[in-house]
Point group: C2
Chain length 244, copies 2
C-alpha cells in the first residue's frame, strides 16, 4: 500500500499541545483533497488514519462521517472510505447550483458590505494577484478560496451562506480533478476585482453577472469531455490508483 501520504499529512503542521480532535482530522483531510495530495479513490482506512493522527478509531469515525456529509469522501457500509470522485455530470450540476446560490448571495450583498469586510475581500484579491504573478499556485488558490469563503460568511442569508460554503468546497475539488492537463493555473485576471467594484457600487445585478461570468470561465477551463473511461470506470469497476 502506498503510504506516502501518511507522513505528508503530518508534515502539514502539527496542532499545538491541544489534544487532536475530529475537527482537526476533517480539516487536514479536506485540505489534502483540495491540494490533490489525496487523489480520488484513495482508500482511507480507519486504523491507519488513527495511527497517523495518534487517536483511536472513535475519533476517526466521527471525522469520516463529517467528511462524508461534506461530500469529500464516499462512505459505504462495510467498506473502506474513499476520496470521492464526482462525475462529469455532477461537476456540471455543481457549477449550476453554485451559479444560482453565489449569484444570489452577491446580489444580496451588493451595497450592504461594511468597510471592514470589504477591506478583507480586497486584501484577498491583492494577495491572489501577487501570488499569481510570482507563480505561487497554492497560495493563489488559498487566496481565491478565502475570498469566496468570506462572501459566504458575510451572506445576509446564513442558510444560503452555509450552502455556498459547501458548494465552494465541492467546486474546488472538481476543478482540481478536471483541470486541463497543460494548464498551470485556473486564474481569470480581473474577475474578482470587477466583482468587488460592483459590490461596493451596490449594483446587485452586475455582481450576479460577474459571478455567472466567473464561474462560466472557470468551467470552460476544465476538461469535461464525455470520455467516461477515465474517472468513472476506475471508481466503479476498478481498484484504487495505488501505484498510478
Amino acid at each position: 500500500m502506498n503510504n506516502a501520504w501518511h507522513t505528508e499529512m503530518l508534515a502539514e503542521g502539527r496542532v499545538g499541545d491541544r489534544r487532536i480532535g475530529d475537527r482537526d482530522i476533517v480539516d487536514k483531510v479536506r485540505r489534502a483533497v483540495l491540494m490533490q495530495r489525496l487523489p480520488p479513490g484513495t482508500k482511507l482506512p480507519e486504523v491507519t488514519l488513527g495511527e497517523v493522527f495518534g487517536v483511536s478509531r472513535s475519533v476517526v469515525r466521527k471525522a469520516l462521517t463529517r467528511l462524508a456529509s461534506e461530500h469529500v469522501i464516499d462512505q459505504r457500509p462495510n467498506q473502506v472510505a474513499r476520496v470521492r470522485a464526482p462525475s462529469i455530470e455532477e461537476t456540471r450540476e455543481t457549477f449550476d447550483a453554485r451559479r444560482l446560490v453565489e449569484g444570489e448571495v452577491v446580489a444580496l450583498l451588493a451595497g450592504r458590505l461594511p468597510a471592514e469586510p470589504m477591506a478583507a475581500l480586497a486584501e484577498q484579491v491583492r494577495g491572489e494577484v501577487a501570488a499569481f504573478e510570482r507563480g505561487d499556485e497554492p497560495a493563489r488558490i488559498e487566496h481565491s478560496l478565502t475570498l469566496h469563503h468570506l462572501l459566504a460568511e458575510h451572506s445576509p442569508n446564513r442558510v444560503l451562506g452555509a450552502m455556498l460554503t459547501d458548494l465552494v468546497l465541492r467546486t474546488s475539488i472538481v476543478i482540481a480533478l478536471y483541470k486541463r492537463a497543460g494548464l498551470a493555473s485556473c486564474y481569470l485576471a480581473g474577475d474578482h476585482s470587477r466583482l468587488l467594484a460592483h459590490l461596493e457600487a451596490g449594483d446587485a445585478e452586475a455582481a450576479r453577472g460577474d459571478i455567472h461570468d466567473h464561474l462560466n470561465g472557470l468551467e470552460a477551463l476544465l476538461d469535461l469531455s464525455p470520455r467516461e473511461a477515465r474517472i468513472d470506470l476506475k471508481s466503479i469497476l476498478g481498484r484504487a490508483p495505488e501505484q498510478a
Copy 2:
C-alpha cells in the same frame, strides 16, 4: 424527566426482524420532530435513546451526528443534544433559500417530466385534497411533504435536488413551530394543482412563480412577530420545557 416520548417513539412501529441501525433512529427522530411529538429544546441523551431503541451508544452517536448535519438537532460539545429551535430570523432565511432553490428546480422540471413521475405527483395532490376535506391533518402533511420530496428527487440537477430535500425538511419544522395558534391547517387550496398544470404545460417561469406564491402564502400563515421572548430566551437562557 418527562419520559412519555420513549414509548411514543417505539409505538411508531417496530422495524421488522432486521437489526436496528442508525438510519432507523434518524428516520424516527426526524419524523417525531416533524410531527411535533418532540418539541424544540427536548433533550436527547445518548443512553436513553440507546435503551429506547435497544442499541448501544455507538449507534445512537452516529445517528445524532447525522441529525445534526440535517439541522434537526443541536449538538454542542459536552452537552446533551437537543431538538433545534430555529429562530425567526433563520425561519425567514430558510424560506428565502427555498424560494430560490425550489423555484429553480421546478423551472428546470417544467415540460421535462415523464408521464410516470407526473402521475405520482398528481396522486399526491389528490391525496392531499382528500385528507384536507376529511380533516386528517397528519395525512395531509404527509402528502404535501411527499409531493415536494418527489420534486426534489426528480430534479434534473441532483445537487440542487439534495439541497431542496434539506430545505423542505427545515421548512416543515419551522412551519410546525411557528404556525399561528388558532390555525387548524397550513393548507393553500389549489396551489399544488396549479403548479402541476404549469409543469405539464412546460411553462418554466409560471412554475417558478407558483412556487414563490406558494411559499409566500405559507410564510404568511406563520406567526413571525419579533417578540423574542417566546422561543429564543427559552432555549438560550432557560431549561428544556419539561412539564410545559
